[in-house]
Structures are given as structure tokens and as C-alpha cells.
Subunit: 243 residues, 2 copies
DNA sequence: GAGTGGTCTAGACCACAAT
DNA sequence: TTGTGGTCTAGACCACTCC
């Protein structure tokens, strides 16, 4: 349900300005890492006072979509800035260190969306996607196996790009190469039994309990961009909130 | 490491005021649900401008520690207001509904802290605690078994109180009866095999994968007040972020 | 009608980064 | 030295709640 035009016009100035700034960020007018105009300049541009412009900017800065630095200016936040705000789960070793030392890519294959993938991504079954399998290591030990499914229509050529660069942080690639900023993730956690591929790749025992996380990543327009299934060994690591 | 007095004096006014408001809330000067003085009154009391007082209040309102209502005033937030901010995991049914229809208490027993409990709560082994076991139901089906451990020194008489009232929401009781407000929770999630008590109480199969969440709840002074272990059946429910 | 918080303005001075 | 964001002030008008 959209707002009526009258209701739209009634919204506070700072909110309308904020929505427009958000629109301009997601349009790619300012890229991650780039400087925005100063708050004085923006206030003048929108015809509001500096205080109002500050308020419009501040909420976006709280979400780390913008990053403010005194003396320097306001930049569009990069993925590393926003990680803590996304509220996703982190796998942590028994001693409390975060996982993510090394990544090894198993395969990158073009495919058609399965029923489950289509449902998760909000697309039609059979739509072109890219599937990626990779392993995450902690101290040379494989700990997580990940199955990624990426929307080929939103990310044309993502398969060959991933194959060529094998990035540690996918969302940073989406930002730099496709101007797609992940604004929200949704995750479901379940406990599962280890199956044959888990035994083979992670060296766990068949039937052993493992954690499975299904994540759907949305961009700033709330379009589902990626679906990821992570299966993690559970004897040496546990799941916790970020931070 | 505390700040030097000089550094303390350098802190912005609104931060010093904010810390003092926080202190007054946790001292019980204003109880959950009660009205604070108006922002004008607070500004006068602290000798700052209204804008500065607003800024001090606003961050606490973002954390739902305070709740502001136009025309009415500012109240201390009650637990139900803050739930979404605590960033804890929620068990959700397959269709997306939250669990928590009914609670049944199994037993409430005084005890001495085990090594694991002592470590989690930051107290000495053997300190007096209260242990509680209870079941959570969803549509008449037992879904979660919870083991609570509560610090008796911070919550004197909590055992008999729980036994008498059998509350649905423990943290609301801590607020009302002990003026202890839960400001942060820390959770660890692992996958475990169902054991005999799980079979008996939840009707799962022996060895079946289950989710186990260990939660430590801290009050506003960051003292660990409660430790909770939740074991959840996993075939009909999954874990997700709040909201 | 009196009092509350929500929005908005127009200034001031400051710490800090860039050059 | 210039310009940035961070703090702080002192007003204004408004929507809303409560009596």
C-alpha cells in the first residue's frame, strides 16, 4: 500500500530528504567510498536548514550506509563498514575468534533456479542463476561449506567474474562491480545431520549434528539478490551474533 | 580502564547527561512505565539547552530504554518495548509464527553454581543460585525445554516467587520485582543430539539433531544475571532473528 | 487550555583533515 | 588556511494527550 500524494507531502522534510538521498545512493550517483556534498551544500540544494539536513543524514549514518568523518566529509559506506549492522550470524571458534581465514572455491556453474531457490529469491522457477560452492577455513581446517545462488539477471556475468577473482568477500564485489548494496539479510538456522558431501569435504562423521544457515541477502530496494546455504561443523565452532 | 577525570570533563554535555539519566534509571529512581520529567524540566535541571537534552534522551529512546510519546511525555521502557532491540534469537514455526503460546514449569530448585554456570555468570563456583526447568509450547506441542540459572544474590527469593507466579516472561518479573533491567543478551548456538530427557519431554527421537542456545542475560551495569540453556526441536521450527 | 514531544530554523564555536 | 562535521544554544510553530 503506497501513501497518497497528500500523505507524502505531509511527511517531514528530513524524511523526504532522507529518502531522496537513499535513492541517489542506490542509483549509483555516489559510489561506495565516494564523498557526498557537504551538509551545507546539501541543505542549500534541498532548501532546508543545516539542522534538518543533518537529521536526514544521521539516520543513514547510523545504519552505516553513510560514514561521516569530521574534517573530511561524508562518504558512502563500504561493505566492511556495514557488516555489524546487518545482524547476521557469525561462526566463532571455541576460543571466540571469528572464522574467515581462507576461502577455497569448488565450482561455479550456470544453472536454472530450482523451486526452493526461486521461492527464496522471489523469481520464477527456471530463471537463470549462478551456483557457487566454496569452503571456508579456519586455521587450515575446513569448517563451513557454502552453496551460493545468485540472480544472473541482476548480476550479469557474475559467474565468470567470481571464477576469475575468487573473492573473499562477495558483497564487496557486488558493490564495486554491480553497484548493488546489500541492505538487509534474513537468516534461518536449523540443526541437520551430516551427509555424504559434508563427510567428504569437512571430515565430519556421517549423521553428526551440524548447523545449517539459510541466508537471503536483499539490496537497498529489498530485492533478493543472493541465497546462501551454509553448513558448519559444530564440534569446534559455534554460532553467535556479530560483534 | 576508566577515563581520567580530565577526559571525563571533556566529554560532550549530552553524553554526560545521558550517562546520568542511565544511572538514574538503573538506580530505580524512575521505574519501568513511569514518566520522566519533561525535556524542558530536564534541560533546566542539567543546565543545558533543550536541544542538548533531546540529544541525550534520543539515543536512550533508540535503544527503547526510554519511550517518548508526543503529548504525553517520556517513560521508562518496559521489557516488551525492548525485546526487538536485544538482538536475540527467536524460534519460529515453519509458517513463520513466533513460538510462545504457553509455558509449563517443571521444577524450581535452589542450588550451588556448577563450574559452567559460575563461568557463564562471572561468579564463584558454589555461589547460591536458583535453577528452573520449564517447557515452551506451540499449539499444545512442547517445542523447547529451558534450563534457567539465576543469581540468588542479585535476585533474593526469586525461586519462591517464580514457583508462586509461574510467569510467562521472566524479564518482566525481574523489572517489576527487582528493578533489574536486562540491557544485553549474549547467545551461542550449537547443534546437538537429542538425549534421553529430550526424548521424554519433547517426544523427539534419540540422537535426532536439535538446536541448543546458551544465553547469558546482562543488566544495565553489564552484570550477568541469568544463564539459560534452551534445547529446541528442529523438525517443525527454526531459529531466526527477532522480527 | 496547558503541557508534551516532533519538526524546523539560524545562528555560534570547536576539533579535525586536507593542502 | 579552508572547509568539514560535532556540539550547543535559543528560539518558533505544530500535533497530540490529558484534564
Amino acid at each position: 500500500m503506497g501513501m497518497t500524494e497528500a500523505a507524502e507531502a505531509m511527511k517531514p522534510l528530513y524524511l523526504r530528504m532522507q529518502e531522496d538521498l537513499l535513492r541517489r545512493v542506490q542509483s549509483g550517483e555516489w559510489r561506495p567510498g565516494e564523498l557526498l556534498p557537504s551538509e551545507n551544500a546539501l541543505a542549500a540544494e534541498y532548501g532546508v536548514s543545516v539542522g534538518t539536513a543533518r537529521k536526514a543524514i544521521e539516520e543513514l549514518a547510523d545504519r552505516r550506509l553513510l560514514v561521516r568523518q569530521r574534517g573530511r566529509g561524508t562518504t558512502v559506506g563500504m561493505h566492511t563498514h556495514r557488516e555489524e549492522v546487518l545482524r547476521h550470524y557469525r561462526l566463532v571458534s571455541g576460543t571466540g575468534e571469528r572464522v574467515n581465514q581462507d576461502t577455497s572455491y569448488l565450482d561455479v556453474t550456470p544453472a536454472r533456479a530450482s523451486a526452493a531457490e526461486a521461492k527464496a529469491l522471489g523469481i520464477n522457477r527456471g530463471t537463470a542463476v549462478t551456483r557457487v560452492r566454496r569452503l571456508r577455513f579456519y586455521q587450515k581446517q575446513p569448517v563451513v561449506i557454502e552453496h551460493l545462488t545468485l540472480r544472473e539477471d541482476l548480476l550479469p556475468g557474475i559467474g565468470t567474474l567470481i571464477d576469475a577473482t575468487r573473492p573473499e568477500v562477495l558483497y564487496a564485489v557486488l558493490e564495486r562491480q554491480f553497484h548493488i548494496i546489500i541492505g538487509k539479510v534474513q537468516e534461518k538456522v536449523t540443526a541437520v545431520r551430516a551427509e555424504a558431501p559434508d563427510v567428504e569435504l569437512l571430515g565430519v562423521e556421517l549423521g553428526e549434528p551440524m548447523l545449517q544457515i539459510e541466508r537471503i541477502a536483499f539490496d537497498l530496494r529489498s530485492l533478493a539478490v543472493e541465497r546462501r546455504i551454509m553448513r558448519a561443523r559444530n564440534d569446534t565452532h559455534y554460532l553467535s551474533e556479530f560483534a
